[in-house]
Structures are given as structure tokens and as C-alpha cells.
Symmetry: C2
Subunit: 348 residues, 2 copies
DNA sequence: AACGCCGCTGTAAGCGTTTACACAAGTTTG
DNA sequence: CAAACTTGTGTAAACGCTTACAGCGGCGTT
């Protein structure tokens, strides 16, 4: 009942445990006859090697730990996919964990991964991530994704949120919007901060002195809906028209925003143009289709893992020498121009 | 550089390795003074326990392995979320792996998980899953999700695909559709088979003798698009009208189908009514919103994990005695009536 | 015939933990 | 004041595996 061990297999095949190990691992210094007997015994006993024991002695797990703020949603699941594909290509396995925004959970997760993984892929966009950094076992190769953890010595890959936001604003202005608004992500989120900063900077540059209403959401569809409502109410009360263009800090909120505008009878993009961020799959399907800034989320995951693998290899070769090489890959989002911001046939 | 071990901590704190272990694990038979010293040393050395070693001696990993056909997409990511939430609540970690439809990959993944997990949550909807069953280490608790693996002794949780398909067809007929068609999933997929069977059975019952065109897709948006095109072409060639109702075996394909119909200028639902399956998030947002059969995918994952945990506990208590209890939970999908199938104000 | 080699096999030492057990104090007890 | 606990600590075995090393035949060379 207890799961056969190598010793059991060895006894069954009537060889030493060393030979059994060799036979099973396909080493070549084993007589054919012995190998046959061992494999047969292993099959009969349904032997499955004990990964824990193996990694203990080999000091290698072939597993990498992935720590995400959350494990689901279009965005994260796409990251995981990227990581998974790249990992699979290298025969690595994934130990995933969601920290659910709680830094203590993240710390617990990291501890639990200790000794079970060869490297860590961490995404923790919370501004106070320093606490996390303090806990990370410093002997493990680590790559951060779109995070703001101090450890520059190791690799990191991030998104040009600031630049993306500026692109979005410029695009709205190009489309003829003369009044702008912004629905931001939570202030505790690093990426949200950057996008907000990009919005303000670009808005000030294009429309100097203009006052742009802002609403702080939390990246959920529902908060986007609330944001749009807030703008609608404020404008109705002040007797002002709606802003001509709204830059929403992520697509999920933009979708909520769209729903609220539609409900209020505002036409998108003619009365209000909308640009989101991320290009999640849904964005193509809402109507009107959502203009957005495409972040190669899949690639983010894939390249993150590749960076990590590089770091691991470097790590195992040179034993702790030249570990500077602060590889800071930054990917730039790309504007996807769809109908939600297509204002005039020929913007003069 | 090599990552501090318990021995290092013990030396640093000038106690025995046993005391160090006790202090760190919070056992109570440790002098306060010693505990303090040990914890301090651990902090200083950035000690992180080696999970592999720990699980080796404790015969417990607090990790459960999750094997899915794929790791991404709305459907699977929602399952993972359910599993993750339930696992987190019990302090368990997740070792996930996508088999990418390849049975050999699945086998490899299972082997790699051996000795690293306390239980296995497997979803493998391929009809020939018997091969997989043969490999599964028989000492591990196992729960299958929407699969067709022989091992009934262990728990399983599945979807009533047949019943759901019948509901869909009945609904289309209620809406006044007198000619029906079906876009199915791949024949190698167990769930697709069941949905197809339900479609045929219900169609035959409601419209005896009617011939229903069918198209075999592969669950991707693109194949749904192709399916609709195929119907359009066939009807154009034969000079017949389009089927009044199409039951599409999953929402992703239904979305593709919708796009093709819109492109062809067919109005949905007036000319062709559409019902999908799964209720993925996108379905609410396409226009018209897609009628579908909601499967509590999140719950599928959550309950699957709970089932597994139950099995694990039963397993550890009674040492291999009453291990029948083939818990076969079956969840029934529920019709979500949206505009894509809303045909007449008052269906006579 | 003695020698070195080669191919195969077994013995045993670890890998980093936990934990049963023994042991040395100090603290009641009778 | 010795016996009996209590409390804290250390020693060492075990978990399942890999692998360096030694051993042992049989082979081809001098």
C-alpha cells in the first residue's frame, strides 16, 4: 500500500539497489539482463521514483516556482501559459502559487517553495514589495515580472507602463479628443501608478493646463463601471459634457466602463472615446471593439522563464562570481486601434 | 552561497541541530533563550527549510498535483482558480502541469510528480485515457475531473454533458427552431462525444426523422468560424435556408460561429439561433450575448480538490481498508438564456 | 604466468530533515 | 535525602535516492 521504493524493486529483481537505480535511470553500465529484470520489477510494483529524495541528493528539482498576485483572470492565466510553454520546452515543472495580494501569503508561499524549486519567477506589483524581497532566499535564482523589487542583481522583465499610457493619451488626442479623463488602478499597485503618471504627463503635454477628472478603480470590471458612473454623475451635476476621451488603466475596467456608458445612452466612440490597456481576449469581442495597448502577456511569461533559466545556468557554472548582469528587459506595449476610439474619418 | 542548512543555523546559534529544528518548527519544548538564538541565526543566514528533505522524512508534502489538458484558456484557468482557492484554504500547494493533449506528456508529468505530491487531481478528457490510468501510481489518492478514467475506486467529479446538450436542444425547439445543426468538439474528446450524443438524442426526440447537419470542430474559436462557414456554403449550394438553431459544443466555438454569421449577414437570433456550452466570461460580452449552458467551472475545481482532500484523509486514517466509496459527483449545467437564442416575443 | 584492463556489481556515504530515545540537570515528592 | 518526575538538550537513525569507490571475475597483453 505504501508505494514501492527502489529497495523493493531491487529485492524483487534480485539485484542491489545501486544496480536498480542505474537500470532505471538508463545508465549504460548495466548488463542487459539486469536491466530487463529491474524494469520488469518496477513495472510490476508500479514503482514511481520519489522526487523529493531524488532532488535532495541531486540538488536539483527541475521545478521552478511561480508566484503571482493571482492565479486566474485573463491576464495571469496568459502569463502562466507563457511560462508553461517555455518550461515544458526545457523539461521543467511549475509550482504555482497565488499570493492573493497578501504579502504574508506571498512570504509563506516562498518558504513553502524552499528546497522544492530551482528558481523563482515572481510577480508582485505591490508597491511595498520590499518586504517580499527581504524574505526571498538569496541563493535562488530569481526573475521578477513587472514588479518593483529591489534585487536588481537578478533578472527582471517589465512593461513600459508609463510609455504605454503616453501612447494611449497621444492617440486619444490624435483622434480629436480635447478633454480627457482617467480611470486608474489601485494606488497600491506599481503598474497602476506608472500608467497614471504616464497619463498625467502626456495630458499635460498635449493639453497644457487642462484639468482631467480621475477615478481610482481596482482593475475589476465592476470598478470600471463605477468609474464611468462617477464621471456621468459629476458631469450631469456640473452641467458639463462628458470627457471626450477616457484612458482606462486596464481592459477589464474598460469593459465595465463601456457597459455603463452604453447604459447611459452615451455613444462610444462618438461622444466618448475609450482606450484600455493589456489587450485581453475579451477586448476584441465587446462592441465597439476596444482600443487598447497590447502587452505581449504570453511573451512576458515566456521570456521571464527564459531569463530565469539563463540565470540558473549562469549560476551553476560560475559559482557566485559575476552575478551582477542586472538584465532589465523592458517590453513596450503596442497600440491596438479598434473602434472604441475611432472618432472621425479624417482627423484634421 | 549554497543556501544555509539547518546544520549551519545550529552551529551559528551554538545548539544542536535537533534543538534548532524544534525551535524553528515552533515546538514548545524549547527554552525561550534557545529559540531566540536560533530564530536570530536563521534570520541572519536567510535560512529556508529544504522542502524536499522535509517531505522525505515526514512522508507528506502538503502539495497536490494538478494535471490538465492545458493550463490556459478561460475554461482551464477557471478550474485552476477553483482548485487554488480550495487548496489555499487548506494550506496546500499546487504543482500544475499541462499535458497538451499528449498522453505521453501526461505520463511524464505524473512520473515527475511522484513523491512530490500527496494527491493527484487529473483532468484528461481524451477517450483513450486508459493508458494514463495504467501509469498512475496506485498509492496516491486521485480525483478525476470530467474524465473517463477507469479507476472508479477513487473519487471523480464530472459534468452532465449529455443532459446539458439535451437541455440546449429543447431550449432551441422551445424558441421555435424547427431545423437544427450542431458544431461538435473533437471526436477524441469524451465530453464532446457526450454533448454530441445529447444533441442527437434530443433532436430525434423533438423532431423525429429530421436530418441535422453536423460539423466537427476542435473547441477553438477558429474552428467554430469554419463550422459556420461550412453550413453557410452547404446551404447556399443546396439552395436551402440555414438551420434555425445551432447548438455549438462550447462557447469559444460559438463565438467564432457568431462572427462568421455576422460576416455573412445572417441575423442572430432571428435567422439562426445559437446556444453554446460552458458560459465562459466572453459569452456575456459578444453581441448578441450568447445563450449557453453554465457549468460551474470554478466549483468543478473547488469541489474536485475537496473530494481529493477527503480521499487523502480517509486514506491516511484507515490504512487501505474501505477504499471503495466511488464518489461520483455529477454536476448539471444550467441554461443561461441570453439574446443569441431569444427568437419570438411569445413562442406559441 | 603475472599483469593490467574492462565491464559489471555491491557497499556505503551522504543529501537536509524530523523524531524516538537517552541523558543531564533541576524540581518536586514521600 | 533518595526517589520520582520535569524540562531542556543532544545523539543517532531513518526517509528514498544517487554515486564514489572497491571488488570481482574474465579478457588480452607482455
Amino acid at each position: 500500500m505504501k508505494g514501492a521504493t527502489l529497495k523493493d524493486v531491487a529485492r524483487e529483481a534480485d539485484v542491489s539497489i545501486a544496480s536498480a537505480s542505474r537500470a532505471i535511470n538508463g545508465l549504460d553500465n548495466v548488463a542487459e539482463e539486469v536491466r530487463r529484470r529491474v524494469l520488469e520489477a518496477a513495472g510490476k510494483l508500479r514503482y514511481v521514483p520519489h522526487g523529493g529524495a531524488r532532488s535532495l541528493v541531486m540538488a536539483r528539482t527541475n521545478t521552478i516556482g511561480v508566484l503571482l498576485p493571482d492565479i486566474y483572470g485573463e491576464f495571469f492565466s496568459e502569463i502562466i501559459r507563457g511560462v508553461d510553454v517555455a518550461a515544458r520546452a526545457r523539461g521543467l515543472h511549475l509550482l504555482v502559487s497565488g499570493s492573493h495580494g497578501d504579502i504574508n501569503e506571498a512570504v509563506a508561499a516562498v518558504r513553502a517553495m524552499g528546497g522544492r524549486v530551482d528558481g523563482l519567477l515572481v510577480m508582485s506589483p505591490f508597491v511595498d514589495s520590499q518586504d517580499l524581497a527581504a524574505v526571498l532566499p538569496l541563493n535562488l535564482p530569481l526573475v521578477t515580472i513587472a514588479s518593483r523589487i529591489g534585487r536588481v542583481e537578478q533578472g527582471s522583465i517589465s512593461i513600459d507602463n508609463f510609455g504605454g499610457a503616453m501612447t494611449a493619451v497621444k492617440h486619444l488626442v490624435d483622434q480629436g479628443c480635447r478633454t480627457l479623463a482617467h480611470i486608474s488602478g489601485p494606488a497600491s499597485n506599481f503598474e497602476a501608478q506608472e500608467r497614471r503618471r504616464g497619463f498625467l504627463e502626456a495630458a499635460e503635454r498635449a493639453l497644457p493646463g487642462a484639468i482631467c477628472p480621475m477615478f481610482e478603480g481596482d482593475f475589476t470590471e465592476e470598478s470600471g463601471y463605477r468609474g464611468a458612473k462617477a464621471f456621468l454623475n459629476a458631469c450631469a451635476q456640473a452641467g458639463e459634457p462628458m470627457p471626450q476621451g477616457i484612458f482606462v488603466a486596464n481592459d477589464m475596467m474598460a469593459v465595465g466602463c463601456l457597459l455603463a456608458l452604453r447604459e447611459a445612452g452615451k455613444s462610444v466612440p462618438d461622444e466618448v472615446a475609450l482606450v484600455g490597456f493589456d489587450d485581453i481576449p475579451i477586448s476584441r469581442f465587446v462592441s465597439p471593439p476596444l482600443s487598447t495597448l497590447r502587452v505581449g502577456v504570453f511573451d512576458l511569461g515566456r521570456r521571464g522563464l527564459e531569463l530565469l533559466v539563463d540565470a540558473m545556468e549562469r549560476d551553476s557554472l560560475s559559482d557566485g562570481e559575476d552575478r551582477e548582469s542586472g538584465e532589465g528587459v523592458i517590453v513596450s506595449p503596442e497600440l491596438v486601434f479598434r473602434d472604441s476610439s475611432r472618432r472621425r474619418p479624417a482627423p484634421t
